[in-house]
């Protein structure tokens, strides 16, 4: 309860002079990244709440549940999930290789992380095309709208991560020492893991049956 102690001191009373600065040990970019991930979580959470509310309206046709609906068989999405998992693992290996002093291996693994992330995006677009070919357009049904919205926003966030990763490569190319870019690499790895977990949540969330949505809505008091 350190924070509780720090906001209950009485600053008007005499205190030991020139106290040491009591900041966290978390490096600044990582702290900023954590706050950013908190914001992104709130962002997606809010859309999920609207999704649950909207799913209880009569015109909502969930994408799974009946044999003819596209995500009753989720094979395609599992492949994408696996690719994103590999990307995340690649980034983690990159960070560990750096800690072992293997800069070349780190670079290789970073490239793999980037490549797999791009592959994931391509595969997501393939899923979109598959849905469109079945006649599940963006505005045909709110369930479709939400699927495109969620996956699109997730993709935009992954693209943002790729921009940061490209910047790491650029800085290494310009000769900035691996020491100085390490925090950025670590940040990218954390962000990749985060986006993987976010994707798992979205995957689970978007492929439920109408009964499950009704249950969630009832639990949240939105039924």
């Amino acid at each position: 309860m350190r924070w509780l102690d720090s906001i209950t001191v009485k600053p008007w009373l005499p205190q030991p002079a020139g106290m040491a600065v009591e900041t966290h040990h978390t490096p600044v970019p990582i702290l900023a990244l954590r706050v950013l991930m908190g914001i992104i979580t709130v962002f997606f959470l809010l859309i999920m709440v609207t999704f649950i509310v909207r799913s209880q309206f009569d015109d909502f046709r969930a994408l799974a549940g009946e044999p003819w609906q596209p995500f009753t068989d989720t094979g395609r999405l599992w492949i994408n999930t696996f690719v994103l998992l590999l990307a995340s693992i690649g980034m983690e290996v990159a960070v560990r290789q750096w800690q072992n002093g293997q800069t070349r291996l780190m670079l290789l693994m970073l490239s793999a992380g980037a490549f797999l992330a791009i592959s994931f995006l391509v595969l997501q677009v393939a899923v979109w095309r598959y849905l469109l070919s079945l006649g599940y357009g963006l505005s045909e049904n709110p369930a479709n709208s939400y699927f495109y919205l969620f996956t699109g926003l997730h993709a935009i966030h992954l693209l943002g991560g790729l921009v940061a990763l490209v910047r790491v490569f650029f800085r290494l190319y310009r000769g900035v020492s691996a020491e100085r870019v390490f925090l950025a690499v670590k940040g990218c790895a954390i962000y990749w893991h985060y986006l993987f977990i976010l994707w798992l949540v979205l995957f689970f969330f978007l492929t439920r049956t109408p009964e499950t949505y009704a249950f969630i809505a009832a639990v949240c008091g939105l039924g």
Binding site: A17, H25, G38, L46, R54
Partner: protein, 589 residues
Amino acid sequence: MTHIALADEDFKDDHHPKTFYGKYVWSLDHKVIAVQYSCTALFVGLVALVLSVLMRLQLGFPDTLGFLSPGVYLQYVTMHGMIMVVYLLTALLLGGFGNYMIPLMLGTRDMVFPTLNMLSFWFYLVSVIVLLASFFVPGGPTGAGWTIYPPQAILEGTPGAGWGIYLMLISLGIFIIAFTMGGLNYITTILQARTHGMTLMRMPLTIWGIFIATILGLFAFPALLVSAIMMMLDATLGTSFFMPAIMSLGEPMDHEGGSPLLFQHLFWFFGHPEVYIVALPAFGMVSDVLSIHARKNIFGYRMMVWAIVIIGGLSFIVWAHHMYVSGMNPYFGFFFATSTLIIAVPTAIKVYNWVLTLWRGNIQLTVPMLFAIGFIFTFTHGGMSGLFLGNVIVDLPLSDTFFVVAHFHMVMGVSPILVLYASIYHWFPLISGKQLHTGMGKLHFWVTFIGAYSIFLPMHYIGIMGVPRRYYALGDASYLPQSVHTLNENITIAVIIVALAQLIFLFNVFWTLRYGPKSERNPWKATSLEWHTPNVPPGHGNWGDKLPVVHRWAYDYSVPGAKEDYIPQHLTDDEVEWDQRPEKREDSE
């Protein structure tokens, strides 16, 4: 890796500006960025002020302005509201004062991410340009009200449906990105970059207000972004997130089954914390101004901090009190009425503490102090009418009347603006090295303060008499007596006078910058760090070679035994001149 606190790092001057453009345009210095933010915000604020005068001319003297059709009137209402709340107040308080004060008051050289900080300003500028561009597109800006409720916001027949609303949504999206970049900077700087001895509870209340308001902003703006994105999809690609099955101009539209209420919940989940994003920095700054100009420590510092934190937390669970008239489960309304009234407790604590800070203080009636005391009046006043409106049963008949207009202008229009003026008059010597003219300042204060009351006090009465808000003209409504029309004319005349009084302020600023005498280094004899930089105005890097070390809180005014009536935060007990030195500080209780 060993942890090195930012305050222990050497001064790496790797972004020292070398060219004119590097120094004043593409600047990475938080002080220049703050001034850029402030000037842009004040400029759009002036646009919004002109819009309000035009609106009032229509209300007070109907049909005298030929170009002001009902549609144009609604567009002005919308743009006035949105600009004032988001593009002026949020940007000026956090982008302007937040940027300027955080590093200086905490004893750091700059924000922790200077480039991100610069980008934040440029994104903000783009959002303002996109917003103002909507005045020049076919159909003009959106006239849907600042709450931009669907379905009407995107339907044919609402002024600015089409390009107007698109540009509004895009502009808001860009603004939110700008705010997020700035906000990440403020939070990390406050948490990680404070100088030695600057514990959380030694921070001036200004910083506490900005800190909590930034957290609110970072977690509330996503709700607006979500609603903006979803509404944009509804408007352009025909989805039905918010749009119900609806007939437009006799034709059925493609939408089906969407829920406009969902938008309202999202919007107000942002909209209510937004009130406190504006109010909390103002609370903080006014606390510092009151304490400094009353030569007394702030009363109940810890209580003030906790109140800020509690208000911030509560502000996320009161949003539906803006939606009583939308219809809701009675228990739901009961919950939100209760949580709304509970917010009055920490808020009242703050007001009592401000008054108790003045009690038996050595009050200096300087211009900043006048504005700060004026704030206590207007804020209490606006808060009181909030107690009325927080109750479902009182809100229902008053919700669509001028009573609400009077309430929110008093509490989040006039009050933060008075604090902003107090802060500008107070910190102007620090920012420019010159002190604004006192005579002009006092004239500006009295006209603005009395003028604001003559505008908004009568609005409560005409609201209770049933004058609806958002109406272009009252026509021959038989239930309204002649006195209502007379009051409306009087309000309009007061608006014109108050608007003109702001020209005094502008003239004062330009005149002082050009001809004003150089001010003293620390004209108000303040203790906080920003006044104790080696150069005033502070130079690049703020602190020269060595960061200051903090030995006390920011409110050591009129300390018994000390020779001067203030002890700067960076002085040790041995460095202070004492008439009668207090006993050696040994124990900490």
